[in-house]
Amino acid sequence: MNTPSLSRAFGLLLWRDLTLAFRRRTELFNPLLFFVLVTSLFPLGIGAEPALLRAVGPGIIWVAALLAALLSLDSVFRSDFEDGSLEQFLISAQPLSILVLAKVVAHWLITGLPLLIVAPLLGLLLDLPTASIVTLMLTLALGTPVLSLIGAIGVALTVGLRRGGVILSLLVLPLYVPVLIFAANAVESAGAGLSIAAHLSLLSALLALAVSLSPLAAAAALKISLS
């Protein structure tokens, strides 16, 4: 039996994960619902003054996005771990880090991209100006892949544990701090009419770093978790 080429293996795995996700359509909307729900809780908690909401809105939306990403992380490797496909990836002829990257890309398309689409709505709810909403979408587009990539390391480390969920948040949330800072600040600066080029450059740098390094770390972690 001849092994498929690397790009074909990547594409096949991506397609398989997307297909699996669309077969369970109800689960698809859960992180999205969570995102909207958490964001809409804040005005109820802190009061609905438009000026106040406009000031804290970027932070709220980004923290909610962080939590939604965290909540959905467990599904990256969980089902593959339970039915044994993960071990097949491990012994396959393809490098594990590329397969991990395919899984993370699929995960981001399923859970990260919907956040991007629903974010303008939340921006309107929190009375953000148009410039902020556009920046919000830009930062989400650059930032949520980083969340998925870093999160994959955490999931790979905890996938063998019976109660990995709480520990996962302990491991991953401190590492999310830079993304949160740059992204929320960019939205805030855009609202104040300042330049956001520096923020976006830094977010892109984080993304480049995460894309190149975290699949390697996640693959190493998976090998340890499954040993």
Binding site: L170, I224, S225
Partner: protein, 245 residues
Amino acid sequence: MWHFFHQLGSPKHFYRIAGRWIPWLAVACVVSMLYGLYQGLLVAPTDYQQGDSYRIMFIHVPAAWMSLFIYVVMAGAGAIGLIWHMKLAEVVAISSAPIGASFTFLALITGSIWGKPMWGTWWVWDARLTSELILLFLYLGVMALYGAVEDKRTAARATAILALVGVVNIPIIHYSVEWWNTLHQGPTVTKFDTPSIDLRMLIPLLVMAVAFKLFYVVVLLMRARVEVLERERNTQWVRELVGSP
């Protein structure tokens, strides 16, 4: 020379050699700490601006240095354990985590006590404080992961990866927090308004730094010995040592 290092790598010899070193290092630690505290608390001049309350610096600053130093040691030992499968490096890495977390906690607490009379508040979202707090979370994450994985060799390797990921992230976190702080235009409080530090303050500070390092080594060796015993509990030499059949 090489023979000595090879011996140190084997758990049995490490246990013996570490046991012999601990008393000497402990004495050196106590002596330097007493000297440093005496010099720092009684001999060093009073600060012209902060009065006597600056003297908490002799605990706070070395503790903050140690918190970073131990994290780097932990990640380095973890990397050695991952690459060369050295059992002892894994033991050193995992034994360092609680000590590092304690130093980080100490630095935060003393910083907070120092901040109350100086800044008028227990906590400021200052760049250094915030990154120190995140460092504490990183330590706690490492310890939580080690505690959660049942097989201790797997646990040590998993925490080594986490520590390495953390080491890549610490500079990023630090600079992002610093930048966030400057953007927010928070209360800009500098710790030392004087451009350089008086020599009579600097020497006790360095002595205390040495004392803290020695303390770390002593506690590390003690913890590592216990860890070695626990891991090797089914081997011949541990049975002979404990005297059980």
